[in-house]
């Protein structure tokens, strides 16, 4: 007899997106089961994820209101300025936090810290059950319930299945949801860089022909580097010994922060765009990379994912306050309808910027100028680089205190 567990919501994938979702949903009063094939001890290991994430000011507020920021703030580096430039020329875009008030433009946090904090919270909440080292084999969505079948023959029954299982989402594939895909034919080398001089909270986004090169401030004299190259160049660079690698790094980084050296390990991510044509299927909602994954050049995909979670949990809570079925198709359709336009814009903008600088033929030089001029339109650029739209428009929900009266 299979072991059957019940929850209001089952979340597949306990990465950053899944674990924020579990926290928000639990605060909203739902019973949550979150499933991941890795063990949680591995998920919070320092060397599990070498990336750092940019968190927009609006999303920081959201995490703060929902008690997920306090511990993170110890590890967060405020972004005070953003400088965007084309390699070899002056910056064509410049945002200073003092232009918009005294708040930072956003924060940089290493993913390992985010994971640790989100997991600590998960383990403390009584209405979240973490099933790590459990793999989902299949699921069924008949009879107004979602059933997940796990590798150890456990069955999870819930009103809705939330897929936070990443860009290659198994749930999405098994739901027969098509994706729009595009291979950027680029690889991001992600590493932490130690530098001699302080970065003063300035983020640099440099557009080079092979791809963007982002220097993002971390605490202390460290920055997170997202260095995009063609696949072949990246593979070659990553095979170099550390001395040669640092030489190549310095060549591109420059010496404006004094001597620089990479702090191993280096991480490699092949870049591709993937956008689900539908964010839902009967009893299934896609969030985060399972729904949309785009070029990391402005670090806004994670911010978009946090907005997915926030909207979805809010909508589910509004349903449950009225005793309505939280997983009904009308909710899921509405979630798709409300999230898609801003994710579309994000994808269009990243793809556009990436291609704008990625070639050197003369016709493109011309269109690049036009493109840059277009980007300089401050509102579009601001919305994009600072996830400004997300900052302002929404009132920030406190999930433990949602009332619709």
């Amino acid at each position: 007899m299979a072991d059957k567990l019940y929850a209001d919501i089952s979340i597949i994938g306990a990465g950053l997106v899944g674990s924020i979702c579990a926290n928000f949903a639990a605060d909203a009063g739902f019973n949550v089961i979150i499933i991941d094939k890795a063990s949680h001890k591995d998920l919070i290991k320092n060397d599990f994820d070498g990336r750092a994430s940019a968190i927009s000011f609006g999303n920081k507020r959201l995490l703060e209101v929902n008690n997920l920021w306090d511990e993170i703030s110890n590890y967060a580096q405020p972004i005070l300025e953003i400088r965007v430039s084309e390699e070899g020329s002056n910056s064509f875009l410049h945002f200073d936090h003092l232009d918009v008030g005294s708040d930072p433009l956003g924060y940089m946090v290493e993913n390992r810290y985010l994971r640790k904090v989100f997991f600590e919270k998960i383990l403390k909440k009584k209405n979240i059950k973490l099933l790590d080292e459990n793999e989902i084999i299949d699921f069924a969505t008949e009879n107004s319930r979602g059933e997940c079948f796990l590798s150890n023959s456990k069955i999870i029954e819930s009103e809705i299945i939330i897929a936070a299982d990443g860009v290659n989402s198994k749930i999405r594939k098994k739901s027969y949801i098509d994706v729009f895909e595009k291979d950027y034919r680029q690889t991001a080398i992600v590493t932490t860089v130690e530098h001699e001089k302080p970065h003063n909270g300035i983020a640099h986004e440099r557009f080079r022909e092979p791809g963007p090169f982002a220097i993002l401030p971390l605490q202390g004299n460290f920055s997170s580097l997202v260095w995009v190259e063609s696949n072949a160049t990246a593979d070659r660079l990553l095979k170099l010994n550390s001395k040669k690698f640092n030489f190549e790094l310095e060549k591109r980084f420059g010496n404006f922060l004094g001597n620089v050296k990479s702090v191993p390990p280096n991480w490699k991510y092949r870049l591709k765009l993937s956008h689900a044509k539908q964010y839902y299927q009967k009893r299934v909602a896609l969030i985060g990379d399972a729904a949309h994954a785009t070029h990391p050049l402005a670090g806004q995909n994670f911010n978009a994912s946090i907005q997915d979670i926030s909207l979805l949990v809010y909508m589910l809570k509004k349903k449950s306050i009225l005793g309505l079925d939280i997983g009904s198709i009308d909710t899921l359709k509405k979630y798709d309808r409300l999230r898609r336009p801003s994710n579309d814009r994000l994808i269009a903008m990243t793809t556009f910027l990436n291609s704008l600088f990625s070639t050197n033929n003369p016709l493109n030089k011309f269109s690049r100028k036009t493109g840059i001029a277009l980007v300089q339109n401050s509102r579009i650029a601001k919305n994009f680089f600072m996830n400004y739209a997300g900052n302002k428009e929404t009132k920030i929900p406190n999930f433990s205190d949602i009332n619709i009266f």
Partner: protein
């Protein structure tokens, strides 16, 4: 077995039975009810939590209430009431509706007592409830006065009844019959008979004649731009109200 179903209109039952399997399709023939549901549940929850002094944050605010849903159909109001903790009895004169309601509540893992019966039958059985939901029913019964007084006997002293129906106005003719049934095709043609619609003044009389007090009616109005329903002061088409049976 002889059924004492003196307020049930046979034509009305077969009307609804024929589309019963579509009850739970939010885009099917009962779409208007699904759309209407959040607004009326909110109205009910607001009233009940304030009337019984219940914390609105309680996930099971109705846990101490025995609720009767008359004309429960496929259970689209009974289920939310049960999810909010209510001990719900749903009655419907259509056997097919009851079957669908039962099947669906089993799938939803909710305990609801669905009975293919009528208000009059429950009176005979001596059933009593804290709350009666009488939503979109009176415009379908054959004798409103008798029906309302049956409801009155089913309520515990101090209990509360909710009632929602359609006004008999020129506007409601255009909106509910021409608009909803013919133009928007929200409802199957013949769902409603305009002549059976009830004016608030008439309903108020029936209710107070039966002994109900604190009768309060509000409009419940569709906003075509927002595509949702809300409680308003406009009673000209759909209206909703609550009324009490005097405490002992």
């Amino acid at each position: 077995m002889e059924m004492n179903n003196n307020t049930i209109d046979e034509n009305e039952i077969s009307n609804f039975s024929s589309i019963a399997d579509k009850w739970w399709d939010p885009y099917g023939p009962f779409k208007p009810l699904h759309n209407l549901n959040p607004a009326r549940i909110l109205y009910i929850k607001n009233k009940l939590t304030s009337y019984y002094n219940i914390d609105t944050k309680d996930p099971k605010p109705f846990k101490n209430l025995r609720i009767l849903d008359i004309g429960c159909g496929g259970g689209i109001l009974s289920e939310p009431m049960a999810r909010l903790g209510g001990k719900v009895v749903g009655v419907d004169p259509s056997e097919k509706n009851i079957k669908i309601a039962k099947t669906h509540s089993n799938q939803s893992k909710l305990k609801i007592d669905y009975i293919n019966s009528s208000a009059e039958q429950l009176v005979e059985w001596g059933e009593k409830f804290d709350v009666i939901l009488n939503m979109e029913v009176v415009e379908h019964v054959s004798n409103i006065e008798t029906f309302i007084s049956s409801c009155y006997s089913l309520i515990k002293p101090g209990g509360i009844m909710f009632i929602a129906t359609l006004n008999r106005t020129i506007k409601s003719y255009f909106f509910a019959i021409i608009g909803a049934e013919y133009i928007l095709r929200w409802l199957p043609k013949g769902t409603h008979d305009w002549n059976k619609f009830v004016k608030p003044s008439e309903l108020r009389n029936y209710c107070s004649n039966s002994g109900f007090i604190n009768i309060d009616f509000r409009g419940i109005t569709y906003n075509p731009i927002k595509d949702n329903w809300s409680i308003t002061s406009d009673l000209s088409v759909n209206y909703i109200g609550n009324l009490n049976k005097r405490k002992l």
